[in-house]
């Protein structure tokens, strides 16, 4: 026969079952758990598309260059997020902000050698087209 559990321990143990069950219920279907994710943010927040775009761009932009990331259409809130992600995902490049704290920072616009555009290609083009891929495009500015 099982010895009875003191009340406080019973609450903790039963509670731990509930909490673990709650965690399990939040999981995606089993097949999706074992599917290789495209990005670490496929199911967290809204950063997956940015992550894919910037990872793809990282393979096409040389190191020790300067880069700025635009959204198309231009939106300082989006560009703030894109800047933060670009700093993380474009190591070895000098990433310049098109916006910070949701405020445009036009003073950096002319400094960048490369312009990454998230979304459709803008008109007029900010430079020579280097690559167009799902999610956006890369432009190189003529050297001054």
């Amino acid at each position: 026969m099982r010895a009875a559990l003191p009340r406080e321990l019973a609450i903790l143990l039963a509670g731990s079952v509930v909490l673990a069950g709650w965690s399990a219920v939040r999981l995606p279907p089993a097949a999706e758990i074992f599917r290789r994710p495209q990005t670490p943010y496929d199911r967290s927040g809204s950063g997956a598309a940015d992550f894919r775009f910037l990872t793809e761009a990282a393979s096409r932009i040389p190191r020790r260059t300067s880069v700025i990331v635009w959204s198309e259409p231009r939106d300082p809130t989006r560009e703030t997020t894109l800047y933060i992600s670009a700093v993380a995902l474009l190591p070895g490049r000098r990433v310049l902000p098109a916006a910070q704290w949701n405020i445009p920072t036009p003073e950096w616009e002319a400094e960048a050698q490369y312009v990454l555009v998230f979304g459709p290609s803008p008109h007029p083009s900010p430079g020579e087209s280097v690559a167009v891929f799902p999610g956006g495009s890369i432009f190189r500015r003529p050297s001054r």
Binding site: E8, L12, L13, G15, V17, L19, L27, P28
Partner: protein, 456 residues
């Protein structure tokens, strides 16, 4: 082997670095799994501290030398411990594992597995990993040191230059060891279930040292399930919260029990305190509250010559190295603040409290906090020993509320994204209060720890 797998494999360097200290027979009573987890924690503290000192001196990080220095530091710490009279194992709780104990172990393992599944499916990835923990680690790895130019870049101010460096250092260490040109993001996220498993292993061993096996394992299940759910809900995979919780939880578990009155227990808690202050800013109020309250609560059963030094010495060294680096490089002199300390907006108290309640409610309807509170209220046995962890929980909660009364004109968003994570330790402390309260009044002080190092 992929860069991510190598990155994760290189984390084994941390238990190796901490092994010389945890191999001391004073810690034998914790069991192998707990000692491994504790060795990893102490090893990470020693490695990170060494990296700070190397950068302060202007020496580039060379991993074999960093590792050797950390090993030597942990070995040197052994000499602070008394020679143990014997290595005999204690005899209590050697009986067959009961149904309830099996159930507790099953829940613990299930919670860790679920956390791993959540991480694997990218359901728990922290935005802060991409925001600052990861980029800092990548910059440090590329520079082979704390990168003053990176930290001082005014464009990168949003990355909180004064935030303590243990997690970026550990990630940078693994990135260099893996030979990866950049941080493997999924591997960094995988630290969440690994740290949860280490917390559970360490906790079960540490609590068993002072409380019955049943109590220890049930508390471990409750804390692991709570931290697993909170980590999943509040997206902590890859950020510093699981690391901070490992250090805080294990330090509190040591000090709640009888090991807290021994030199070995105090030194170990001190090393974990050092990890807590070096992991996140919130580690500092935790260490201040847990350390000072411990000295007060155990004032009659500790050596006043050793206890304060063992408890706070490693943390002072840990923070000292970082702030010395900040000061010498002209980067910072202290942590950035959220407005002048005494500039408190008391009129915000109502919205702050309701915002916190709403944020905690998002974490399993607040059950991670409500369950231990209910257990405390309905407990048949409630000794004064419960007061110590409960008091830390109260002080930390008050401090967090005080912090939210500063700075931003509308702290709603700030509370929304941070309260669930920073209040996680309160859930842990309340559960420890339940277990501590079950001990006979004063029993935790009276019962000799399982380890033989009972000298004070």
């Amino acid at each position: 082997m992929s860069a991510g797998a190598l990155w994760l494999a290189s984390l084994t360097a941390f238990p190796a670095a901490g092994a010389p200290l945890l191999a001391h027979r004073a810690f034998r009573g914790y069991g192998l799994a707990a000692r491994l987890a504790l060795a990893a924690a102490c090893g990470a503290v020693a490695v990170s501290w060494t990296m700070n000192v190397a950068s302060l001196a202007g020496w580039p990080w060379r991993l074999p030398l960093v590792l050797l220095a950390a090993l030597a530091e942990c070995f040197a710490l052994r000499f602070l411990l008394p020679r143990s009279p014997s290595g005999a194992e204690p005899s209590f709780d050697r009986g067959p594992v009961t149904f309830w104990e099996r159930a507790a172990v099953a829940v613990t393992l299930a919670a860790i597995t679920i956390a791993a599944a959540a991480t694997l499916s990218t359901s728990a990835t922290s935005p802060d990993l991409l925001l600052f923990w990861g980029p800092k680690a990548g910059a440090f790895a590329a520079a082979r040191g704390l990168d003053a130019a990176y930290l001082g870049d005014p464009l990168l101010r949003y990355q909180h230059l004064s935030y303590p460096p243990l997690v970026p250092n550990v990630y940078a260490f693994a990135t260099i060891a893996a030979g990866a040109g950049r941080l493997p993001w999924m591997a960094a996220a995988a630290t969440f279930p690994l740290l949860l498993a280490a917390t559970a292993a360490g906790l079960a061993g540490v609590l068993r040292n002072s409380f019955s096996r049943r109590d220890a394992w049930i508390a471990t299940a409750a804390i692991t399930a709570a931290l697993g759910l909170l980590g999943e809900v509040f997206d902590v995979a890859g950020n510093a919260d699981p690391t901070l919780l490992l250090f805080e939880t294990l330090a509190a578990a040591i000090l709640v029990g009888s090991a807290g009155t021994t030199r070995a227990g105090q030194l170990l808690a001190g090393m974990l305190f050092a990890g807590a202050v070096a992991a996140k800013v919130e580690g500092l109020p935790f260490v201040a509250a847990a350390g000072v309250l411990f000295l007060f609560a155990r004032r009659r059963s500790i050596s006043w010559r050793h206890a304060p030094v063992f408890l706070f010495g490693p943390a002072l060294l840990s923070l000292g190295g970082w702030f010395a680096f900040g000061r010498v490089r002209g980067l910072f002199r202290a942590y950035e603040t959220y407005g002048p300390t005494l500039e408190v907006y008391l009129e915000r108290l109502g919205p702050v409290l309701s915002g916190i309640a709403k944020a905690l409610g998002a974490g399993g309807a607040g059950l991670p906090w409500l369950l231990p509170i209910a257990a405390l209220l309905f407990a048949r046995r409630r000794s004064r020993a419960a007061l110590y962890p409960a008091a830390i929980a109260f002080i930390l909660s008050a401090f967090f509320v005080f912090t939210y009364l500063h700075g931003a004109p509308d702290p709603a968003l700030w509370i929304d994204w941070s309260a669930g994570r920073i209040f996680s330790i309160v859930s842990v402390l309340l559960t420890l209060a339940v277990i501590a309260g079950r001990a006979r009044a004063g029993a935790a002080e009276e019962t000799p720890p399982r380890s033989p190092a009972t000298e004070r």
